[in-house]
């Protein structure tokens, strides 16, 4: 007993234990966001006032109840979440914190959007339960919707004067008001090139706001994907030629068909190929291929470009994200291209992913089903 005061800390008197318990209860009750603690079987063992206020229940109505049973949750498409998909259940399978957006239902059956983070609670290496913290994000969602609407209106409004600039610039460039000198032609080309770029940005912004508002119309038709890909490669070849990049389309021997939205598929392929061209240095190589895989078509574009820094790889499909190694080179991108591709992949029931090494290059894959899944 060389350090009695240390030992003493493990042998609190009953009154000290009570005091500690009261303190921890007060701490838990004061958490400003909804907090619910469950045991290992998912039964609610503690719930704070914020959670009770948000859910409209009284404490005694929830204590001891199986969480997924008493608090009904829906996904972002409004479908009820199965117990197995609930973070409070999944967290025991995954053993690490889970964060997701979903909808909770109050006692009076009102739905509201929540952001939930659930963490498993371990004692001596064994899971003894979970703690969930959640907050009402209805306001954030409403602001996000207003932002999308604003972008959409602003883009529409920008387009009208831009079309006038473009039309009159074309008139001047075509010698409508007299022949231009070589220098004047060069300047006109710069003006028209910038107008084209701005049009592209507006198109992307409009696409993004439409996809976020769920207004993106999907039309499934039987599509010759090989031909579609060939056309895109032809259209984008000039950009590769200008940088002396070897671009090869490794077309399959027989045409591959798919029942899909050809416009959306074309937009995704074009986006991935033009990224490869944009971020590959002169004399680099780009290989594009199409294959049949798992009842779908796998598109791949492989480049010898900048690559994506490892630390940033999980952010690349996020809206407005641009990697610093890319921004240094090219300041014109919107950071919306890959976000769009990801949204399109989700819309078509497909997947997009990549492998990359910074400084060595990247391979981007876009898989889409041969037939649309039932819920798309």
């Amino acid at each position: 007993m060389k350090h009695p005061h240390v030992l003493h800390r493990h042998h609190e008197t009953p009154s000290q234990l009570e005091q500690q318990r009261a303190e921890s209860d007060a701490l838990f009750a004061s958490i400003g966001e909804g907090a619910i603690v469950t045991d290992a079987s998912g039964k609610i063992s503690r719930i704070n006032q914020a959670a009770l206020d948000l859910l409209g229940f009284r404490e005694k109505e929830l204590l001891g109840e199986w969480f997924p049973g008493i608090i009904v949750a829906y996904n972002e498409d409004g479908e009820p979440l199965e117990a197995l998909d609930r973070p409070i259940v999944r967290v025991f399978m995954e053993g690490k914190p889970i964060t997701r957006k979903m909808f909770y239902t109050t006692k009076s059956h009102r739905q509201f959007a929540v952001l939930v983070t659930v963490s498993p609670v371990f004692l001596n290496g064994h899971p003894i339960g979970a703690i969930e913290v959640f907050r009402d994000i209805s306001l954030e969602q409403e602001i996000d919707r207003m932002k999308s609407e604003f972008i959409s209106i602003a883009s529409h409004q920008l387009r009208t004067p831009l079309t006038a600039i473009q039309t009159y610039a074309h008139l001047l460039a075509s010698g409508f008001k007299g022949a231009l000198s070589k220098d004047q032609h060069e300047f006109m080309d710069i003006i028209l090139g910038s107008v084209d770029r701005m049009n592209d940005i507006i198109t992307t912004l409009l696409d993004v706001s439409r996809i976020e508002a769920g207004k993106l119309s999907v039309e499934h038709t039987r599509t010759n994907v090989t031909q579609l890909c060939k056309t895109i490669v032809q259209e984008l070849r000039q950009g590769a030629d200008e940088k002396k990049i070897t671009m090869v389309f490794d077309a399959p021997n027989t045409p591959l068909y798919s029942v899909t939205d050809s416009l959306l598929l074309a937009e995704s392929y074009a986006n991935l190929i033009s990224n490869a061209i944009k971020y590959t240095s002169e004399l680099g190589h780009i290989t594009i291929s199409l294959d049949v895989q798992d009842e779908g078509i796998l598109f791949c574009v492989k480049d010898t470009g900048l690559g994506v820094p490892k630390a940033l790889q999980d952010q690349i499909f996020t809206k407005f994200f641009r990697a610093p190694n890319v921004v240094k080179r090219d300041t014109t991108g919107t950071g919306l291209g890959l976000y769009m591709v990801k949204q399109i992949a989700d819309t078509l029931g497909g997947k997009v992913w990549f492998t990359s090494r910074e400084g060595r290059g990247s391979s981007f894959y876009f898989w889409s089903p041969k037939r649309p899944p039932k819920n798309v």
Partner: protein
Amino acid sequence: MAKVLIVEDDKLLSQAYFLILKNEGHDVRVAENGKEALDLVAEDEPQVILLDLLMPEMGGLEFLQKYEQPKKHPKTTVVILSNLGDEKEIQKGLDLGAYKYIVKAQATPIQLSVLVNNLINKNIEKKQPVSKT
């Protein structure tokens, strides 16, 4: 020379289209909306109508419904002047009898005048389905 009617509420754009087509020697008239266009076509039948969709008072789709082309005006060809992002409206316009559409931001004045000249010079024997471009 042919009679061309431009229906466009943006004055800067209609003026540009007017200049281009006038320069090609066409007889060009301008209406600011569908209502004005209906008045003008009642006076004088154009061979080509360049039709914007979103306009105050009467938009392009309502004009097409009232104009009843191709049933009542088989010799006139309507081309929709559209904006990016108007796919659904464009499709309705094509269903109502428009021959094709051009995206304003993607068509140069030269392309526009070539298109109008082609429509006038060539007989449009059969209406082909227009692909979405």
